[in-house]
Symmetry: C2
Subunit: 659 residues, 2 copies
C-alpha cells in the first residue's frame, strides 16, 4: 500500500514539475523565485559563524539540561575521560591491555634509548619520557589505541633546533635546560591550541606535506644512524645528505669499525626479517615487536662476553639508574633562552600534535569512535607540561608503537599504564644492564623503525591523484633531506598555502551546455554531448567571488564571451549572443569586491547589448546582492532558480530580436 501511494504521489509531482519547469514561457504562474533568506540578527549571525569556526563539534552538547551536580561530574569526565570508561572496565579488557602494554613496552625501551640520542640527550631521558607522559595521557586522553612516548621525528627536530642554539656536549647542562624549556612550551602550545579550539590550525599541514616530511625525516634519521652503524667517531653535526655522505666517505679508510658493522648488519637483518614475518602473517605481529628487545639482550650479552668494546665497538656505557628527577627549576622562565625555548617548543609542539592527532584519528576511524581533536590537544599538552617538570622531553603518539598496540588488542589507555609500569621497573632495576649495549644495535633499531615512515605507496598515489600534492610532498621530502627538517617543514607549509591561494585567485570557470534529453546544464568539456543554446552563453563560476579573484572572474567571463562571439561570427545562421547566464550555484559567498566586479560586468555587457542573468545564487550571495541593490540594477526578474528556467525565459525574447 505504502508503495503505491508513494508512486501515485511521485507521478502527481512529476506532472506538476513538468508544468512548472517546461511551460512557464507560456504561463509564468509556477516560476519559483530565488529565495532571499530571512534577515538575521547581526549578533546571532556573528555567534553562529563563531560557533562553526571554533565549536564545530559542539562540545557542550551533553551539558545541556543537566543539574548542577551532573554537570560537575560530566565536567570531570570531560577533562579526565578515565572516570567515564574506567567505570565500565573489566578483566577481559585488562587482558587485552596487559598483552598490548607488555608488547609496546618491549618495543619502546630500546627505541627510547635510541631516540634520546637523536635529541642529543642522555639515554635515560628517553626512558623518563616513556614513564610520566603515558600515565598522564591515560587519565586525560580519549584515544584508546595511541601509544605515548618519544618519537623519532620530533626527537630529530628537537635535536637539530636545540643544537643550533647550544652545543650538546660542551654546554650539556644548558642544553638540557633548554630542552626542558622547549618541552614546557611545546606543552603550553598544545594546551593553548586545544583550549582555544584552534585545533584546525594543524589541518593546514596537508596529508601530502606530511608524507613528504615524514619520508624526508626518516631518510635523515637513517643517515644519522650511519655514525653508530659504521662506528664512525668524527661525524658531521649537520643533517643534510651531502654533509653526512661527506663524513661517511671521508672516514671510510680508517674511521669505520668492522666489528661494529658486523654486529649492526647482522642484527639489522634479523630485525628486517622479523618485520617481514610480521607483515606476512598478521598473527605474528608480536615478532617484529619484541625483536628489538631480543636484539638488545643478545648483543649486550655478546659484547659483555667478548669484551668487543675493547675492539672499538662503541657501547652505551653509563645509563643512570632511578626514576625521573624533578626538573622544575631547570626550565628557563627568564632570559634569552626563554624566547629560544619558546620558539623551538612551538614548532616541536605543533609537529608532535600533527603526528598524535593523525594517529588518533586513524585508529578512531578503524574502531568507529569519535575523537575530539581539541580535547586530545589539551591532554597531550598537559602531559608535556608535566613531562617538562619531570625531566622528560617532548612526547607524543608514535606511529609504529600505536600500530603494535592496536594489533596486540589493546582496549583502553590502560595499555599505556602497563607500559609505563614496565618502564618504571626498567629504570629502577635494569638500566645498569644496558651498559654494554652496543650503539650499533640502537642504530639498527632506529633504522628499522624509521624505514616504515617512508611511504612510497602513498607518494605514488599522490602522483596518480593530484600532481600538485605530489609536488608538495616532494618539496617537503627534498627540503628535509638536502637541507634540514626546519626548511623541509617550511617548504611543506608554504606549498600547502600556495595551493589554497592559487585556488582562490584563479577559480575555475566553465561553459555549460544542455545535456540532451534533460533540462540539466553541465560543463561541455565534461559532457561533450551537451549542446550550447543559440544566442545564450552560460558560464559557471566555480568558487566564492572574493577580492582575490573578482577581477579575474570578471575578465574571464568577458573573455569567454569574446571567444563565443568570434565563433558565432564565423558560423552562419547563428544569432549573436544576447544573453549571458552566470550559473551561481558554486558561488558560495561574495564580498564587496566581488559585487563591484559583477557591476563592472553588467556595465560592460550593457555596452555590448548583452543581458546579464544570474541562476541560482545561494542564500548568502542573494542577501548581499540585495543589500548592495545589485538585484535592482540587473532587475529582480533576471535572477532565476535554475539555468533551465533562465534559458526558457530568454528563448522567446531571443527569437523576436532576430533579423
Amino acid at each position: 500500500m505504502d508503495r503505491s501511494t508513494e508512486e501515485a504521489q511521485t507521478k502527481e509531482m512529476d506532472i506538476r514539475s513538468l508544468s512548472s519547469s517546461h511551460h512557464h514561457s507560456q504561463s509564468e504562474r509556477y516560476i519559483h523565485k530565488v529565495g532571499v533568506p530571512p534577515k538575521q540578527n547581526l549578533f546571532k549571525e556573528f555567534r553562529e559563524t563563531l560557533k562553526e569556526t571554533f565549536f564545530a563539534d559542539d562540545p557542550l552538547r551533553p551539558f545541556k539540561d543537566r543539574s548542577r551536580s551532573q554537570k560537575f561530574i560530566l565536567g570531570i569526565q570531560t577533562i579526565f575521560p578515565i572516570f567515564e570508561w574506567g567505570r565500565k572496565y573489566n578483566l577481559k579488557k585488562l587482558r587485552g591491555d596487559l598483552i598490548a602494554g607488555l608488547t609496546i613496552a618491549s618495543l619502546c625501551i630500546p627505541q627510547d634509548i635510541g631516540y634520546a640520542k637523536l635529541a642529543n640527550l642522555d639515554p635515560q631521558y628517553g626512558l623518563y619520557s616513556s614513564f610520566v607522559p603515558p600515565l598522564i595521557y591515560a587519565f586525560m586522553g580519549s584515544s584508546r589505541d595511541i601509544a605515548i612516548g618519544p618519537v623519532a621525528v620530533v626527537s630529530l627536530l628537537l635535536g637539530t633546533m636545540l643544537q643550533n642554539e647550544l652545543d650538546p656536549i660542551n654546554e650539556k647542562a644548558q642544553y638540557q635546560r633548554l630542552a626542558f624549556t622547549a618541552t614546557f612550551f611545546a606543552g603550553i602550545t598544545q594546551v593553548t591550541l586545544g583550549f582555544f579550539r584552534l585545533g584546525f590550525l594543524i589541518d593546514f599541514l596537508s596529508h601530502a606535506a606530511i608524507v613528504g616530511f615524514m619520508g624526508g625525516a626518516a631518510v635523515t634519521i637513517a643517515l644519522q644512524q650511519l655514525k653508530g652503524f659504521l662506528g664512525i667517531k668524527k661525524f658531521t653535526k649537520k643533517s643534510d645528505i651531502i654533509s653526512v655522505m661527506h663524513s661517511v666517505v671521508a672516514s671510510a679508510h680508517h674511521g669505520w669499525n668492522w666489528q661494529t658493522i658486523a654486529i649492526g648488519a647482522s642484527f639489522l637483518s634479523f630485525l628486517l626479517f622479523a618485520k617481514f614475518i610480521g607483515k606476512k602473517n598478521k598473527k605474528f605481529f608480536w615478532v617484529p615487536a619484541i625483536a628489538p628487545l631480543i636484539s638488545v639482550i643478545l648483543s649486550t650479552f655478546f659484547v659483555y662476553i667478548t669484551r668487543a668494546d675493547k675492539q672499538g665497538v662503541q657501547i652505551v656505557k653509563n645509563i643512570k639508574k632511578g626514576i625521573n628527577p624533578s626538573s622544575v627549576n631547570e626550565i628557563y622562565f627568564s632570559g634569552d633562552y626563554l624566547l629560544k625555548g619558546f620558539r623551538i617548543g612551538v614548532v616541536a609542539g605543533m609537529i608532535g600534535l600533527t603526528e598524535a592527532i593523525a594517529i588518533g584519528r586513524t585508529f578512531a576511524a578503524m574502531k568507529d569512535y569519535q575523537l575530539d581533536g581539541n580535547k586530545e590537544m589539551v591532554a597531550l599538552g598537559a602531559m608535556n607540561v608535566v613531562g617538562s617538570m619531570t625531566s622528560c622531553y617532548v612526547a607524543t603518539g608514535s606511529f609504529s608503537r600505536s600500530a603494535v598496540n592496536f594489533m596486540a588488542g589493546c582496549e583502553t589507555a590502560v595499555s599505556n599504564i602497563i607500559m609505563s609500569c614496565v618502564v618504571f621497573l626498567t629504570l629502577e632495576f635494569i638500566t645498569p644492564l644496558f651498559k654494554y649495549t652496543p650503539n650499533a644495535i640502537l642504530a639498527s633499531i632506529i633504522i628499522n623503525a624509521v624505514i616504515g615512515l617512508i611511504d612510497i605507496g602513498a607518494a605514488t598515489l599522490l602522483w596518480k591523484i593530484d600532481k600538485f600534492d605530489f609536488v608538495a610532498c616532494m618539496g617537503a621530502f627534498f627540503g628535509v633531506v638536502f637541507s634540514s627538517v626546519e626548511i623541509g617543514l617550511l617548504i611543506a607549509v608554504s606549498i600547502s598555502f600556495a595551493k589554497i591561494l592559487l585556488q582562490v585567485t584563479r577559480p575555475r570557470t566553465a561553459i555549460l551546455g544542455k545535456v540532451p534529453r534533460t533540462t540539466v546544464y553541465r560543463n561541455i568539456q565534461q559532457y561533450p554531448e551537451a549542446t550550447k543554446v543559440p544566442g545564450v552563453l552560460i558560464v559557471r563560476v566555480d568558487s566564492a567571488i572574493y577580492f582575490s579573484n573578482s577581477n579575474y572572474v570578471k575578465e574571464r567571463i568577458l573573455r569567454w564571451l569574446e571567444d563565443e562571439e568570434e565563433e558565432v561570427k564565423a558560423a552562419t545562421y547563428q544569432p549573436r549572443i544576447q544573453f549571458l547566464i552566470v550559473e551561481m550555484s558554486p558561488v558560495t559567498d561574495i564580498d564587496t569586491s566581488g559585487i563591484h566586479a559583477l557591476e563592472g560586468l553588467h556595465r560592460s555587457l550593457e555596452k555590448r547589448e548583452v543581458q546579464l542573468i544570474l541562476a541560482n545564487p545561494g542564500p548568502v550571495v542573494m542577501d548581499k546582492l540585495h543589500a548592495s541593490s545589485f538585484t535592482s540594477l540587473i532587475g529582480e526578474d533576471n535572477i532565476f532558480l535554475t539555468v533551465a528556467d533562465a534559458v526558457s525565459s530568454c528563448a522567446p525574447k531571443l527569437v523576436e530580436e532576430q533579423p
Copy 2:
C-alpha cells in the same frame, strides 16, 4: 517560421527530458552517466594551469599568425603603446588633452610641493617627480585617463619608513640617497611583478582593506598638516593620532601662530567652497581644480606685501630652480642601505601599484577599454626606475588628479605630456616666485586633497553588505590612525588573508530539499517551502575539499546525519535515513586528503548502514575519484548526474526496506 520551429523543438526536448528525469526508475535507458573527462596529457595539463595563472589574459594572442616584421612592429607597439594610438592622433583629441593637461598641471604644482614635504624632501623633488615620470608613462602606459605624479599616501608611507632609518634633517644627504634607492627598487619591483605576470598579487589587498587604509592615511596626513596649519614649530615625528594630538595640545599656549591660522583657515574655506561648487555642478569641475593654484598665488602675493613671514608665518623659503639633476650616482648599490632601500622600495612600490591599477581599471571600465594590468606595471616600474635616476621619488597615479583629468575631457596620455611641459616651465622659470608661499597654504591644499580619500559612503556600504569586510576596513583604518601606516597595512593584509583561510577551513554545508512542483533541490534554509525526502538526507558541500577542510567536511556531514536521525526517531511514520546524497556541484576540486575524508565518510556510513551517493561531481573531481578508485569503492552506479536522478534511484529501494 524560425520561431515555430524552435518551439516545436523545445516541446520535443521537453517530452524527452520528461521521460529521462522522471521515469527512469522504471526504465533506466535515459539515465545519463556522470562524464569522466578525457585523460589529459600531463604536460598539457601543466601548461594550461600555468597559462590560466600567469597568462589569463592571453597577451600573445595578437602575435599569432603574423610575419616577422609585423611581429616586430607589434612588439614595439606592445611596449610603447604610444606608437599605436599616436598614429590615430588628431587635433580634436589634442584640444581635449590640452585643456585636461593644463588643468591637472595647475592642480599638481601646489600638491607636489606639499607632498614632497610629506616625504621629508625639499619641495623641488615633488616637482621633479611630476616632470620625468609622466613623460615616460605617456610612452609606455596604456591608460588614457591616469594622471601621474607624487601622491599623498605613498609620500607619507615613504616619509615614515625612511625616517625610521635616517634623520631627514641632520642626515639630509643620506636620506635623499636612500629615497632614490627606495624609488629605484620600487620601480624594479613593479617591473618584475609585471614582467613575471605576478600582477594578481596586488589583488590580495582587498577593496575593503584599501578603503580603510586610504581613510586612515588621509586622517594621518591631515593631522600632520596641523603643524603647518597652526604654525607649530616643535612637532612630533610620529604619525599616530595620540602623539600628534599631544604635540598640538602641548603647543597650544605659545606654539600656535594666529596669523598662520588666519591665512590657512580662510584659504581652506575657499578650497572647500570651490570643491562644493564642483560637486554641485559637474560643469564647474575646473573650479576646485584651479582653486589651489589661485590660493597659492593670492597667499604668496599677500605674504610678500605684508611681510607676514616676519610675524612668524612660515614660508617655503628656497626652492631650487632648474630641471631634475641626475641622481644615478646617489643610489646605494651596495652596503647596508641597499637592503633597507630595497625593503622600503618593495612596500612603496606595491602600494603605488595598487593605487595606480585601481585608478586605471576604474576609468578603463568607464570608457570601456581593456587595460592589461601586467603591462601597466611594467610601464609604472620603468617610469620609477628612470625617475630614481633623475632625482624623482616614487610617482604613481593620483586619484584626485586622474578624476580631474577625466572630467576635463582628456583623450590620451598626451595630457600627461602637457602637464609635464608645464612643470618643466615652472621649474625653469617660476620656482623662485614660490619663495613667499606660506606653508599654511600647502597644508590647506593637502588637507583639502586628502579629505576626498575618506570614503564614508564606501565604509557604510561595506557594513551593509559584508560585516567581515567592514572589520578589515576598520582594522586598517585604526591601525593607520593609532599606530602607523605600516601597521595598518599589515593589519589589512592579515585580515584579508584570514578571511580566505577561514573560507577554506570552514566551508558552508547545507541540507537540501525538493522545491515543490519542480525536480530541483535547494537549501531548505533559503527555500523554506522545500521539503526533505523521507529516508534520504541530501547535503551540499559548498567548497573544494582540501586538506584544510577535509576533516571538518567529513565531521560536519556526519553531524548533519546524527541530527537528522534524532529528528527521525522523534517523529512517527518516518523511515530511518538509509541514503546520504552529497551534492558535489560546488565541489570544484578535491585533493588526496579530501579523498581520504570521503573514504572515511563511506566507512562510517557503512557501519550505520547508510549508503553514500554522490551527485554531479565536476570533471576534476571525477577524474581524481577515478584515479583513487573511490568510484569503485562506492560503486559507479552510486554517482548521479543530478540530485533528482539520485533521489529517484533511492526511492524504490527505500520502500522495500521499510518494515
